[in-house]
């Protein structure tokens, strides 16, 4: 509002202080210790618990570790790619309000190369324990384990090789998606930094073009990666909404993370031009997409519940009839729907950092539980649960991602100082 002639300091850089690094490192170490304690307890306690053998396979404690690694990596990959996605959205929508926040969104992409390496490497270590379809005997006609349904889906993983051998198509997709995401991220990042040196609208138009291309690619790749990395765990089961479901979960978690970083920087005195109106908009996004996630979650649930076809409802029966997982369904809905819906409904809650800080942190935890519910029942059966191992691994991943994001954010200007819409964003008022 009005005609402020304030000259904001646009060359500001985020100072990633030693104190901050130390706090993140402390969380990392605490997480690692909790994780180690969890591993020790599992290895010593339940390691030889063969009584709970599922489907002919004895359960080993390390399977729980593997499932955990997969949950966290898929989850944080999503948060990272959502940063780039949200950045691209701003350009495709020609949004002006978010101009000073763009670098924050973009910086989440720095986690993508790490996530890609972890995922590809860990697939070769943990894949066999996570994905039922990797078992060779399923595709062997002469084996008693032969599974006609999985055999029918086999080509999706193994093409062009023989089913049950090396999942070439699956790996190619994984490498291709990560490769393309990182390439798009680099392109957008370089264009955004180039704008700092060359003023004018040229960079903006170029970024918009690349953003549009990325959005089209992401629309397809996010869905397929959700089928590949998450839905294929329950190999027999399928849901046509799953791609959207995973995307929605990623999106809310990513928005919450971006909101938290924005508030964090604001509280430390950066981003002078960002005021309650910008925070309000971020809050609206978190609020709206929490409802969007609930809509997707419930649509998937209701159709399956209503039709009650055994091959579909098995997914929810596995979760709801289980003593291990059924409480988490309600935790999931409480943290990801009721809490943001009721708390962020009022305007004031979206404009004040304290509400958003609490809610966004809980949403990040809540959507972790969402992925926990997607992955664990299919991989661990009744041997899963939320314990020290899960909590420790979440802290380890969370602090690593935070470190990488903040570290890279501190290397360049915090604000795209030649962005043509900065002036518009100063006057943003809602």
């Amino acid at each position: 509002m009005g005609h402020s002639t304030t000259n904001y300091n646009l060359d500001q850089k985020f100072d990633f202080t030693a104190g901050l690094k130390k706090s993140i490192l402390t969380v990392l170490i605490i997480g690692a210790v909790i994780l180690a304690a969890g591993i020790l307890m599992a290895a010593l306690g339940g390691g030889h618990d063969e009584a709970h053998a599922e489907g002919g396979h004895a359960f080993h404690w390390y399977q729980r570790l593997f499932a955990n690694l997969w949950i966290n990596n898929v989850y944080f990959t999503g948060i990272a790619v959502i940063g780039v996605f949200f950045f691209a959205i701003q350009y495709a929508a020609q949004a002006g309000w978010s101009a000073p926040l763009l670098r924050i969104f973009l910086s989440f992409g720095y986690w993508l190369p790490f996530a890609g390496v972890i995922m590809i490497v860990s697939y070769f270590i943990v894949g066999h324990d996570i994905f039922h379809w990797t078992h060779k005997s399923l595709f062997d006609l002469s084996s008693p384990d032969y599974d006609k349904i999985i055999d029918g889906k086999g080509a999706f993983f193994f093409w062009p090789l023989e089913k049950g051998t090396f999942p070439a198509f699956f790996i190619i997709r994984m490498v291709f998606f990560f490769g393309a995401w990182v390439l798009f991220f680099n392109k957008l990042k370089n264009l955004s930094y180039k704008e700092d040196i060359n003023p004018g609208n040229q960079s903006w138009f170029q970024i918009r073009k690349w953003s549009a291309l990325f959005l089209v690619f992401f629309a397809v790749s996010s869905s397929i990666s959700a089928w590949d990395w998450v839905m294929s765990i329950d190999t027999h089961w399928f849901s046509t909404m799953f791609g959207w479901y995973v995307f929605a979960s990623w999106f809310v978690a990513g928005l919450s993370a971006m909101t938290l970083v924005t508030i964090f920087l604001k509280e430390r005195g950066y981003l002078e031009m960002v005021n309650a109106n910008h925070i309000h908009d971020m809050g609206k996004f978190v609020f709206a997409f929490s409802i969007f996630w609930t809509y997707i979650w419930f649509s998937q649930f209701l159709l399956i519940y209503y039709a009650n076809i055994p091959e579909e409802s098995v997914y929810f029966i596995e979760r709801m009839e289980s003593d291990v997982y059924s409480p988490f369904i309600f935790v999931n809905l409480a943290l990801n729907f009721f809490l943001p819906f009721l708390v962020l409904m009022t305007r004031d809650a979206k404009r004040h950092g304290i509400f958003l800080k609490v809610i966004c942190s809980l949403i990040i935890l809540g959507h972790w539980f969402d992925f926990f519910l997607m992955v664990q029942p299919g991989t661990l059966g009744q041997n899963g649960g939320f314990g020290l191992m899960e909590f420790g691994m979440l802290l380890v991943f969370g602090s690593l991602v935070t470190y990488v994001v903040l570290n890279n954010l501190s290397k360049r200007n915090l604000i795209a100082k030649n962005h043509p819409m900065l002036e518009e964003s100063y006057h943003h008022q809602i």
Binding site: M1, F301, L302, Y306, A307, N308, T346, R347, Q429
Partner: protein
């Protein structure tokens, strides 16, 4: 003098001049009755010192009413009045009720909010809207000041305040 009858009107050509003018006029102790403009002016409610609208509260209450009505209606129909087994479920299968509940919540919240807004802004069908100046539907902003409320000031003083604040013309308007 009777209240809400006789007004002095300041006509403004530009919304930025108007925003400054509102602060100036209020600063000189004059109480503004209302400001009319042909389009929404950002920040105008702040300079006018208006409190936040209570409309969201009305929307929330109507929403709650919709939720309650929908659940009660479906429960009565499906469980009490005419129980039917659908898909082997319990008569009152709660998840099945959600879509209708959602729709009725949104419907009543929206209708309720529009209705409350209409009544509160005197846009109800039986209401008689008062037109201060026909040009507020075109390109002029009009600031209306109730003479009775500001009886401590002379009409000429009010007129000067308006002119000094940047009004392009000053008029009088009386309603029966």
């Amino acid at each position: 003098m009777e209240r809400d009858k006789n007004f002095i009107l300041g006509v403004y050509d530009d919304e930025d001049v108007l925003l400054d003018a509102i602060s100036k006029v209020r600063g000189s102790g004059v109480k503004i009755h209302e400001v009319y403009s042909p389009f929404p002016v950002h920040g105008i409610d702040d300079v006018l010192g208006y409190k936040r609208s209570k409309l969201p509260i009305a929307a929330f209450l109507f929403g709650i009413l919709g939720t309650t009505l929908a659940l009660v209606m479906q429960f009565y129909m499906m469980k009490i009045d005419w129980p039917m087994i659908i898909g082997g479920k319990d008569h009152a299968a709660f998840p099945d009720f959600i879509p209708v509940t959602f729709e009725l919540t949104v419907l009543l919240a929206a209708f309720g909010m529009v209705g409350v807004f209409m009544i509160a802004s005197n846009l109800k069908p039986w209401g008689q809207p008062r037109i201060f100046d026909i040009r507020i539907t075109d390109d002029k902003h009009v600031m209306a000041i109730d003479l009775a409320v500001n009886s401590s000031l002379e009409e000429s003083q009010l007129s000067d305040v308006l002119k000094n604040s940047g009004a392009s013309e000053v008029n009088f308007k009386s309603f029966e």
